[in-house]
């Protein structure tokens, strides 16, 4: 049930949130053919829409990863809350 540690699940979660937001916004930019991105696309008119769909799907994939890593984060938090926090004697 728990296949990621606390650090990697938080990492993946943050990365996926960033990825989802950024790729979805990029998808919108490609679909509306914003000028700034013209270097990233070939010259034919269908290319824009193509890239936009790629972006949307990748964004969706990141959203799925995000949900999974959030679930892992919750599992990790519950797991860690059972152990009391301890430290060695500091002198």
């Amino acid at each position: 049930m728990r296949f990621c540690g606390p650090k990697s699940s938080t990492c993946m979660f943050l990365l996926s949130v960033w990825g989802t937001i950024m790729l979805l916004i990029l998808g919108v930019c490609f679909q509306t053919q914003s000028v700034i991105l013209f270097k990233d696309v070939d010259y034919e008119p269908t290319a824009w829409q193509n890239v936009a769909i790629s972006c949307y799907i990748s964004g969706g994939m990141y959203a799925v990863i995000g949900v999974i890593s959030y679930w892992q984060k919750v599992v990790n938090d519950r797991y860690l809350a059972l152990e009391p926090e301890t430290t060695s004697i500091m002198f």
Binding site: W18, G19, K39, D40, V51, T87, S88
Partner: protein, 818 residues
């Protein structure tokens, strides 16, 4: 800690300090010092500085404290070795409530320590015996093998022929040796006994733990047959020399079996004893671990109090102590109250006396800071602690540091990440604060700088808006000001279009760089010029501000000479050269048409000095009358140099002569030795003054140029950042978009490439570039800004405070190193 002042300059200057003298009675000294330690407001002076360590008061108490601390350290290390942990502490440890001797801690610690050492020793001895018994068992087992191989090894069978020749009886020695030494053993035996001994080795299959080193060692059993006394001695010596342990072994199998049975029972007994001892030890350590932290705190406080008291001087009657120390002026009342409280706790009839005294010694520097300003104060203090009551650069750094960082970083999205990261740490402050001690060093650095990171994020986002950069792409928020031609042919081909600013440009873009530049081929040419000019202008602003801060410092210290003959010439010199350059920059931006060939500012500045007095050619002319204006500026600037160099020393010399003139007329004898000595000293001081002035003058004049050029790093780093960002996008995400269309799996490629791009953005652009921009912004503050006004020769106010001592061990260590 003590209370903050309610009004007045908290951060602009260091706070006013007062030297106080306290008279403490012997009875109440300990409690008063304890109360002062809890308060943490006095920095005691060492009144017994020249006194030998062993002649100070309280030597015995300090020795006892050291002993106790050593024992506690031993106990703590034993506890930690077993991996016993304790719950995290969220509150500061409590103050000790016993007063003078803490005898119970002393006796308890000593008894625990001796007991633990006993237990450890016994455990080691037990383990050694256990190993010995194991080895004996192995020997007995192997002996079965030796003697069971038929009568060939039987000692009596060798000499069956002749009777009465009992001296031909073969003896043997059995023992255990490390496997690594076996070949050596064999060889030595063979050589030294000339082949007259017979050695047989059997390996012990299980490895055994060496109790001393806690490692596994491989061992073998050996049996060595020899004849005669001489060989016996030799064999025994060799065995001793090679560290082989010999065990007695009987030939007869029956006797061996009885011995083996005994050994087995003893071994199992030993195992029981050892496990019981280990359990007992662990139980002791666990019990100790619950209370040991409290003891450690108490002993540290006890030692700190006695160390501080050993700094006091004793009055003649040996009834009381005199203490001197620095106190912040705002804390004087609280210190008085703490003394009274200490005296009442001790039940002393005589109240301690506290007087404020005047002194010629420079007081320590202390700035009142809060959570936000503390980080900035730390990075300023890292370069040098401010002199007493000079203007503190940290207060300006709060805004200028994030701003300059932003100029060098300049990306809206990256700035947003910094901001969010800082915001997260600030939000989780209360949660992270007590867990500081278990953070690793890098995380701790980031945590301490959380407010700085927050502000840096704001600065970077703002600069990103200015540079119109988000992940190296731009945003068209306000509508571009460039008019693209309506000829649609060109939009389908690969050709470039040239737009002329005089015809294709409407009005300046509302805020920031026009997004059209992001797509231009000559973007870098334009941006470089823009960023360099901006860097120089910002540099001039910060340096001028630094000069005005020096003016405020001179006024505060009453150095009128410095105002007229250091500040004014410096300002004029700086502005005649660099200020004029910035004026030219603005003039060229505002008043020169874009249509014609642009005059170069660099050539203008160079020719200002090299072609002094010559006419300026038509191509290089920026404005009418330029030649004469520049001549005047150069002459004025050069005139400032001798004023900076000579004016102050000459006037000071004149003043001194005027003061001593009347005095010198009184001494008639010019051969007086004292007079000659004084004159020599005066001459030396005069020379020093001139040399000092020369150094400062040269430093400032050359520094004008070099510091201004140094500010160009604002341009350099922002260029590096935007280029890195662009290259990263073009080398990774570009391929994610263009390689495959979506129905051929382009989205999987994009998915993977985006992750790669994101990781590289974090590692290179955020971490590496962020650190780099942080460092350079800091350097600009430390060197280019602060060398205009900063003295930085103060020392920090470090009061005697238990909280400080407990939080960082170094305080007490350097104290106990006296």
């Amino acid at each position: 800690m003590a209370s903050h002042p309610s009004e007045g300059n908290k951060l602009l200057r260091s706070t006013e300090m007062a030297m106080v003298q306290m008279f403490l009675n012997q009875e109440c000294a300990y409690d008063c010092v304890k109360e002062l330690g809890e308060l943490g407001a006095v920095q005691f002076l060492d009144l017994q500085k020249g006194v030998n360590v062993f002649q100070r008061s309280f030597v015995s108490e300090l020795k006892r404290g050291d002993e106790l601390e050593r024992k506690l350290r031993y106990l703590a290390s034993e506890i930690n070795q077993e991996g016993i942990t304790v719950p995290l502490e969220f509150d500061l440890p409590q103050a000790p409530n016993s007063t003078i001797t803490d005898l119970d801690i002393d006796s308890m610690t000593t008894s625990l320590e001796t007991e633990l050492r006993e237990v450890n020793k016994n455990l080691a001895a037990l383990r050694h015996s256990y190993i010995d018994l194991m080895e004996l068992k192995c020997v007995l087992h192997a002996a079965d093998q030796f003697f069971a191989k038929g009568s060939a090894w039987s000692t009596q069978s060798v000499y069956t022929a002749e009777e009465g020749e009992s001296n031909r009886h073969l003896n043997f020695v059995t023992g255990v040796i490390e496997r690594a030494k076996v070949p050596l053993f064999d060889r030595v035996m063979w050589r030294s006994c000339r082949g007259n001994v017979f050695v047989k080795i059997v390996e012990i299959p299980d490895n055994m733990m060496d109790p001393d080193t806690n490692e596994e060692v491989e061992k073998s059993v050996f049996i060595c047959f020899y004849q005669g006394n001489q060989l016996e001695k030799r064999v025994k010596k060799i065995c001793d020399g090679l560290g082989a342990r010999t065990y007695p072994c009987n030939e007869k199998a029956s006797k061996r079996h009885t011995v083996r049975d005994e050994v087995t029972t003893r071994l199992s007994e030993m195992e029981d004893i050892i496990s019981q001892t280990v359990e007992y030890r662990l139980r002791q350590l666990n019990d100790m671990s619950i209370e040991i932290r409290g003891w450690i705190v108490k002993i540290k406080k006890w030692r700190a109090i006695y160390y501080t008291m050993s700094k006091f001087s004793v009055n003649e009657a040996h009834t009381g102590f005199v203490a001197e120390g620095w106190v912040r002026v705002n804390d004087l009342e609280s210190v008085r109250q703490a003394l009274v409280k200490g005296a009442t706790i001790a039940g002393c009839a005589v109240m301690p006396i506290m007087n404020r005294v005047g002194t010629a010694v420079t007081p320590p520097t202390h700035h009142y800071t809060n959570k936000l300003t503390h980080g900035y104060q730390v990075i300023i203090d890292a370069y040098g602690v401010a002199s007493y009551q000079e203007i503190n650069p940290a207060i300006f750094t709060v805004i200028t540091f994030p701003f300059l960082f932003g100029i060098m970083f300049g990306d809206m999205a990256h700035g947003l990440f910094f901001f969010l990261f800082g915001l997260y740490m600030v939000y989780k402050e209360k949660h992270l604060e007590p867990r500081k001690h278990i953070m690793d060093e890098i995380a701790l650095m980031l945590y301490y700088g959380r407010y700085i990171i927050l502000m840096m994020g704001v600065g970077a986002s703002y600069a990103g808006l200015l540079y119109n950069e988000i992940y190296s792409k731009g945003l068209d928020i306000f509508g571009t000001s460039w008019l693209m031609p309506n000829d649609t042919e060109i939009y389908t081909s690969d050709d470039t279009v040239t737009l002329d600013p005089s015809t294709d440009y409407t009005q300046p873009y509302f805020y920031g760089i026009d997004p059209m530049w992001i797509m231009a081929e000559n973007m870098l040419t334009f941006l470089n010029s823009y960023k360099m000019k901006m860097a120089v202008i910002l540099g001039l602003c910060q340096m001028t501000f630094g000069l005005f801060v020096s003016l405020v410092n001179y006024k505060y210290y009453g150095k009128i000479l410095d105002i007229w003959f250091t500040f004014v010439p410096q300002l004029i010199f700086l502005w005649c050269i660099i200020g004029y350059m910035c004026f030219l920059i603005f003039y060229k931006w505002f008043f020169i048409d874009s249509g014609k060939e642009q005059p170069s500012l660099l050539i203008a500045m160079i020719d200002m000095f090299l072609s002094f007095g010559e006419d300026i050619s038509e191509d290089d002319l920026i404005y009418e009358g330029q030649k004469y204006v520049q001549m005047v500026l150069v002459v004025v600037a050069l005139c400032m140099v001798p004023i900076m160099f000579a004016a102050k020393p000459l006037i000071e010399q004149y003043n001194k002569n005027k003061d001593t003139a009347s005095y010198e007329r009184l001494s008639y004898d010019s051969d007086d030795e004292e007079l000659i000595e004084r004159e020599r000293n005066e001459a030396q001081a005069r020379l020093d003054m001139w040399v000092n002035q020369a150094i400062h003058t040269i430093e400032f004049c050359l520094g004008c140029i070099s510091n201004t050029a140094s500010y160009l790093r604002l341009w350099a780093l922002s260029l590096a950042h935007s280029e890195l960002s662009a290259v990263l996008w073009d080398m990774t995400l570009y391929y994610g978009f263009t390689t495959l269309p979506w129905d051929e799996g382009g989205f999987i490629l994009l998915f993977l490439i985006w992750a790669f791009w994101a990781v590289l953005t974090v590692v290179i652009l955020l971490c590496m570039e962020g650190l780099s921009a942080f460092l350079h912004a800091l350097r600009l503050h430390w060197v280019e800004f602060q060398n205009k006004f900063y003295g930085g020769e103060g020392y920090k106010f470090l009061p005697f405070c238990f909280r400080l001592i407990l939080e960082n061990e170094e305080n007490l260590e350097e104290i106990s190193n006296m």
